[in-house]
């Protein structure tokens, strides 16, 4: 139903824009990949289902001409953040908003079906049915959704020009967003150190998290790979891996829109977003700032107050 509406909207906006960025079926039924629509014939390839997890807003800063993009609620925060930082011109973007009830993690589904080849995938309201050579399996969407969906605060896009369905309100409590951070904070320093050491030690430094990150706008000039300055070496040690993740986290301080792309693409299943969420939590506490919510806001690290209400001088 919503897919039909989406296709109609795309056909309607296509004459005014260079490209419409949306999703299409990938190499099998379980994979969805971006499609860049330039002619009306391509519109039939468009799909919309919970597998459309990729954040398409990431393509916007590199677009030179006017484009339209399909976004879910979480993806729309990326666009708001781009607007705050002046990385896109709002007049050059047509936003097709899609109210979303939650996506599906492809990795979780594959695990549940034992990595068998997928023949057919169908969706009901709260379940996904996957047909494999050994039979059909029904999985509840709640069991195979990425962690970000379990605490989603913005099921409906924050900014949009067209909406494909009725707006949905979030039914998740706001405290749930940082529940995992709070849990980790409750542990001792040593436990946290061991936790991050065990997680980051898995890192193969493929930099997929950086490449997928919508806010990592330096891309090819990333200081993780430059020789001058030479921030990290090619040595395969925990310190270098931690350093890479610190670069990522610190460059996203007060900018991370929690779209979860870094964790979605990580081949080693490292909770890459944890450090960024922790910083976001502190930004909320210090400056009452949430990234990607209000286009008029200014990211906290881009500005200052002469008298900081919440920053106290530290005593020795």
């Amino acid at each position: 139903m919503s897919t039909q509406k989406l296709k109609e909207i795309i056909k309607q906006v296509l004459p005014d824009v260079e490209t419409v960025i949306c999703w299409q079926e990938g190499y099998d039924k379980l994979n969805v990949t971006p499609i860049f629509i330039t002619s009306p014939e391509q519109v039939d390839q468009v799909v919309w289902n919970p597998l459309c997890a990729q954040n398409l807003a990431s393509y916007l800063p590199s677009q030179k001409k006017k484009v339209a993009v399909a976004v879910k609620g979480c993806d729309s925060r990326t666009i708001v953040q781009y607007m705050q930082e002046g990385l896109i011109d709002r007049n050059n973007v047509v936003i097709i908003g899609i109210p979303c009830k939650g996506t599906v993690s492809k990795k979780k589904v594959q695990k549940a079906i034992g990595n068998e080849p997928v023949e057919e995938v169908t969706f009901t309201d709260d379940a996904i049915k996957v047909k494999t050579p050994s039979g059909e399996k029904t999985l509840a969407l709640a069991d195979v959704c990425p962690t970000k969906c379990t605490s989603c605060q913005f099921p409906t896009p924050i900014v949009y020009d067209q909406l494909t369905g009725d707006a949905i309100k979030s039914d998740k409590p706001p405290e749930s967003v940082y529940a995992d951070v709070v849990e980790l904070e409750g542990k001792t320093l040593e436990e946290r150190k061991a936790y991050f050491a065990s997680q980051f030690d898995k890192c193969i430094r493929c930099y997929a998290c950086r490449n997928a990150c919508p806010m990592c706008v330096c891309q090819d000039s990333c200081i993780a790979e430059t020789r001058d300055p030479h921030w990290i070496t090619q040595r395969n040690s925990l310190d270098e891996k931690v350093m890479f993740h610190m670069i990522h986290a610190l460059h996203l301080a007060g900018r991370c829109v929690e779209c979860g792309e870094c964790e979605r693409v990580c081949p080693m299943e490292i909770p890459v977003a944890k450090l960024k969420k922790k910083i976001n939590k502190e930004m909320k506490d210090l400056f009452d700032y949430t990234p990607g919510v209000n286009p008029e806001d200014k990211p906290p690290m881009y500005t200052f107050n002469v008298d900081e209400a919440k920053i106290k001088e530290h005593k020795l």
Partner: protein, 138 residues
């Protein structure tokens, strides 16, 4: 544990050229006794201190990092230390989350005339780091 005197630790200090570096000089000229664990790196402004300087230092051998600049409102470049304050406070709160004791990192403001205060900062911070011991196993 042996009773030998604690070995010198490696503490890195990022000092702004205009205030804290001058303050350290004042302390030296005034012949105030200070611990010798601190290695000073002079930077043009505390706003030049990228939080990654601190992280890199801690990961690659430093046992403690001290950042010091002009007092807020007294920055030579008007607003460098205001930005620094936000960044360093963010880092101060992030470090313990990833398992590094935030007592190993301190940021403060010392002006060029405060030789006495500089001595207190260095002594206090050095003692604090010594209480934690070396960060890296040799």
């Amino acid at each position: 544990m042996s009773e030998v005197a604690p070995k010198e630790l490696r503490i890195v200090g990022f000092l702004c050229n205009w205030c804290s570096y001058g303050g350290a000089d004042t302390a030296g000229v005034g012949r105030f006794k200070q611990p010798t664990d601190l290695r000073i790196i002079r930077v043009p402004c505390s706003g030049r201190v990228d939080p990654m300087f601190v992280v890199r230092a801690l990961l690659t051998g430093a046992d403690g990092v001290l950042v010091s600049g002009c007092h807020p409102r007294d920055c030579h470049y008007t607003d460098g230390n205001f930005y620094a304050r936000r960044r360093l406070e963010m880092l101060k709160r992030l470090l313990p989350f990833m398992g590094i004791d935030d007592k190993r990192f301190h940021y403060t403001w010392v002006s060029a005339s405060e030789g006495q205060k500089w001595q207190q900062v260095v002594t206090g911070f050095t003692n604090q780091v010594h209480a934690l011991g070396p960060m890296h196993q040799k």
